[in-house]
Every structure is written in C-alpha cells, then in structure tokens.
C-alpha cells in the first residue's frame, strides 16, 4: 500500500547473503532482505543480536564480510540517525543541521532553517545544543539527517533514551516526515509497540538470521491502543522471549 506509492522518493534495498564477523565470531550469518522503495521497515531482536551491525552496514559505515547489497534506482546515499544525538557542542543548532548538507552548501542557512522548522525548532536556530532538552536534541539530529533529503534513512534506536511522552511525540514526528518525504526508512528498535506503530513491515533477527517477517497492514495513523496491535505485540514479545518458537503470521 503506502510503500508502493508511485511518488516514492526512496530507494529500494536488496540484501543477499549478507555476512559479518568480528574476529572470527559470526554476528550476521546470511541475511536476505528486500526493502521496497519508500517502505518503512522495523528491525527488532534481542540485545546483541546484530541489529546495529546490520544497520551500520546498510548505511555504509561498516563493510560486510560477505554477501551483497544493492540499491535500486540511484545512489544509496544514506543518513544514519544514532541512538545519541551526536551534535557538535561547539556549533549552533543551525550549523549542526547544516552539517547534514555536506560541503557544497548553497543556501545552507535557509535549508537548515527550513529543516528546523519541520521539526518544530525554528526558534532554536541560534542556541547551543547544550541548552536543549534531550528530546529537542534528538529532533535537531532528525533535522540534520533529513535536511539533504536522503533517499534512505537508517534509524538506530533514536528514541531509546527519551521519556515516554517525548517518545510519543517523536514517533509522530518521524511518521509525519516519512509520509511527507517518502524516503526508505529502516528503524532498529527494542520497542515492539513502536515498531508496530510505525512500520509497514517488521523483521526480527535471531542468531544472525531473519526469523520473522511480518507485514503490518493497519491503516495510518495507528492508535497505540488498537487491539490488533496489542495481539500482534503479545505474539512477537513471546517469540522474542523465546517462549513460543512457532511462526507468527501478520
């Protein structure tokens, strides 16, 4: 549905037999994954299962040990949003956002301010990052990631450190900008309900392989208390906790 929207700005990603080992220890043992252009994919799994490793490889930060990744239709220029905001403390909020534009920044100022406006922080352009709250910092990081209109946005638990209310706000914001820009999004998260709320599709990594792949077809915007989501969340959580080794169908 949404993912197949003809105006999709995102790239399709095709991963074949992706492997990664660290000093002989295999963390990813052959991942096969197709992400459609403009799709919102969530990746879940136990801590240490290799979610970040997969995401960093997709974003081009690390090289895989084997397998191949192809980006359909154009460059796979990716932006990665980290768990921490990683803002430059010595640069104003606006300059931090402008980092996302890279070197050739004609109209950098205007574009940075427009991106700040999109995340609701237009009035903080001059501020130092240290004077912002945690949620505001993460919004600046989102603006920095989006200012260059990437076709692929990788998010590594970007909301993990936020309080519950800010988190809900940020989830809405992420969904809004994704719907407006139609980039391909891959979100790594610990939070199953967050994955179900935002994603078109949820995959689970276990023992270095994808062991679960569920399409979430509920219409947006989704209500957090929707009973369908609750049932699905229970199933996935049980699976995560290793109590129910059978298959789950979305």
């Amino acid at each position: 549905m949404n993912a197949m929207s003809p105006v999709a700005h995102g790239v399709g990603i095709s991963v074949r037999g992706l492997r990664k080992d660290f000093a002989g220890r295999e963390v990813l043992k052959g991942i096969d994954l197709e992400v459609a252009a403009g799709e919102f994919l969530a990746v879940i799994g136990r801590s240490g299962c290799g979610k970040s490793t997969l995401l960093r490889i997709l974003a081009g930060l690390d090289a895989p040990s084997g397998g191949e990744i192809r980006f359909g239709g154009g460059d796979g220029r990716a932006r990665l949003m980290f768990q921490e905001p990683r803002l430059l403390p010595w640069a104003s909020v606006r300059d931090n956002v402008a980092v996302g534009l890279g070197e050739g920044g004609g109209k950098a100022r205007e574009r940075a301010e427009a991106a700040l406006d999109a995340v609701g922080l237009a009035d903080k352009a001059e501020a130092w990052p240290a004077t912002l709250s945690g949620g505001q910092r993460q919004r600046v990081a989102l603006a920095r990631a989006l200012v260059s209109r990437p076709r692929f946005l990788a998010l590594d638990e970007p909301l993990g450190a936020l309080d519950a209310l800010t988190r809900i706000e940020m989830q809405k914001l992420v969904e809004q900008v994704w719907q407006a820009q139609r980039f391909t999004a891959v979100l790594v998260t610990h939070d199953v309900s967050e994955a179900l709320l935002l994603a078109d599709r949820v995959v689970m990594i276990e023992q270095g392989e994808i062991t679960l792949d569920v399409a979430i077809t509920l219409p947006r915007p989704r209500r957090r208390a929707a009973p369908e989501l609750g049932a699905l969340e229970d199933q996935i959580l049980e699976r995560l906790l290793g109590q129910m080794p059978s298959r789950v169908d979305g």
């Binding site: 932006r79 980290f82 010595w90 640069a91 980092v99 070197e103 130092w128 920095r144």
Partner: protein
C-alpha cells in the same frame, strides 16, 4: 475552594522558606570585590607591621617605599625598559615553544606514524627539568638572548604539547564517526570536529605553559642577563635596595596575572559553547 487548596501548601512552605536573597546588584558587586579582599588585607598588615617596627626595614621594605621606588624607576624610564625586555623574552619564548608544541601535538594526535616517530623522544626530553640545562645553555649561547629563548621555549613546550596531544586524542569518537557518516573529508573533520573538541584541553596546556614561562624567565634573568626585571632585582640586591627587589617580585606577579587573564578572556571568547554547557549542567 480550589483556590484555597492551591494556595495553602504554598503559604505553608513560604513560612519555612529561607529569607529572600539580596538583590542581584549587591551580590554582583560583592562577587567582584571578594577576590581582592585577601590581597588588600595583606597589604594593610604589611604597612602596619612596617610602621610599628615589627618588620625591619632592611629585611622587608615599607609599601610606601616600594611605591616610591616604582615612581622613581618609572620616571627614569628604566622600569619601562626592563619590563619591555622581559615581556619580549616571554612572548618570543612562548611563540617559539608554543607553536612547535602545538604543531607536534596536533600531528601526533592525528597521525599514528607521527606519534611513533616522535612521542617517545619527547617523553624522554620531558623528564629533563629545563632549569637543569642552564649550565649547558650558557656554554652554548653565552648569556645572550638565545639562552633565555631556549630555556623558556623548552619549558613552555611540554605542557602545551601534552595537552594538545591528549585533547586531540580524546575528542569524542562518536562525533568523529558522525562527521564521517555525513561525508566530511579529512580537513573538514579536523576543522569542524577535532580542533574545537581539543580546544579546552589546549587552553589548559597554554595556562600551564604560561606559569612555566614566567618561572623559567625569572630564574634565567637572575642568573645571567644585562636587562630585564630579573636583572633589575639582582642589581638592586647588590646595593641592598630591598624596595626594588620587592617591586620586581610584584611586577612578576602582575605580569603573570595579566597573561593568565588574557588567556581566560580568549577562552571565554572561543569556548562560549563550553560555558553554555557548564551553565546547562549546573
């Protein structure tokens, strides 16, 4: 009803609350004044001690005498000349040692090869107290400017080198990774991430370096010089002019304080974000 419920707990806490603070204007003036309180008291004690004869004049001169000799030397332009000579020595030593230290600290911080090549040697040299080189330096340079320049530059070098090096090395690796992932090239990464991140540490080095700079200069000027504050003090000692000796010491203190304040000002200018951080964290 609801109003009352809102007000009463506040009223209760107000009674137990501490008295309101003094107005900010007054406390600001006090804050400015407080650091000078102790020096002022010392000065008063000194004057009283001298006048009552507790402090013998030939051991320690009266403040008024020091002031008088300052006026006399200022009028004869001798003082200005000596201060200028010492100041020039300090600045050239700092410029030479500091810039070398800064360059090597940066390159060793950034490049493993450069570190391998030079760091061990520098760490060995660091353990030589610079003043122990005085006899050798006199043999090399005589009592010329070269000797003082060498000693101050040598002394200033190590604190600046070490702090620059560590500053560069301890820049947040996550920020560097962020910069890379956003496509920053080596030079941009250095200019926008590494250097600003290392700056607080570089300033610490600079301030340590300044302390060593004055110390080295004082010693080398008293040992061998034909002008400068140290030379002035040594000459005065020969003529038993304790007032001039004390004046020289006070001038050194003032020069040291001025240099430190200048660095602080520079710090405040360039590390605005750092101070913002301090405020936010408080």
């Amino acid at each position: 009803m609801s109003d009352l419920a809102l007000v009463s707990p506040r009223a209760a806490s107000y009674r137990t609350a501490p008295p309101p603070r003094r107005s900010p204007r007054v406390s600001l003036a006090t804050a400015r004044f407080v650091p000078w309180l102790l020096p002022l008291l010392l000065l008063c004690g000194w004057q009283i001690g001298s006048q009552s004869g507790v402090i013998a004049d030939d051991i320690f001169p009266r403040p008024a005498d020091v002031l008088a000799s300052a006026a006399r030397l200022t009028l004869s332009a001798e003082l200005a000349h000596n201060i200028a000579v010492s100041f020039r020595r300090a600045v050239s030593g700092l410029a030479l040692g500091g810039s070398l230290a800064f360059a090597l600290g940066l390159s060793n911080g950034v490049s493993r090869l450069s570190e391998r090549l030079t760091d061990t040697t520098l760490q060995m040299l660091r353990n030589i107290p610079n003043l122990s080189l005085i006899p050798l330096v006199i043999l090399w340079f005589g009592i010329d400017e070269g000797a003082k320049l060498f000693l101050t530059a040598f002394g200033v070098f190590f604190p600046i080198y070490i702090n620059t090096f560590h500053g560069v090395r301890n820049v947040d690796a996550q920020l560097i990774e962020m910069g890379r992932s956003y496509g920053m090239g080596r030079f941009t990464l250095f200019r926008r991430v590494v250097l600003p991140g290392a700056l607080p540490s570089i300033f610490v080095g600079l301030r340590y370096g300044l302390g060593i700079m004055w110390l080295t200069l004082i010693v080398s000027e008293t040992i061998a010089a034909d002008a400068g504050i140290g030379h002035m003090a040594m000459q005065a000692r020969e003529f038993m002019q304790t007032d001039v000796v004390v004046l020289a010491i006070l001038i050194y203190a003032a020069l040291g304080k001025t240099a430190d304040s200048a660095v602080r000002l520079l710090e405040r200018r360039t590390l605005g974000w750092h101070h913002a951080y301090g405020r936010a964290a408080r």
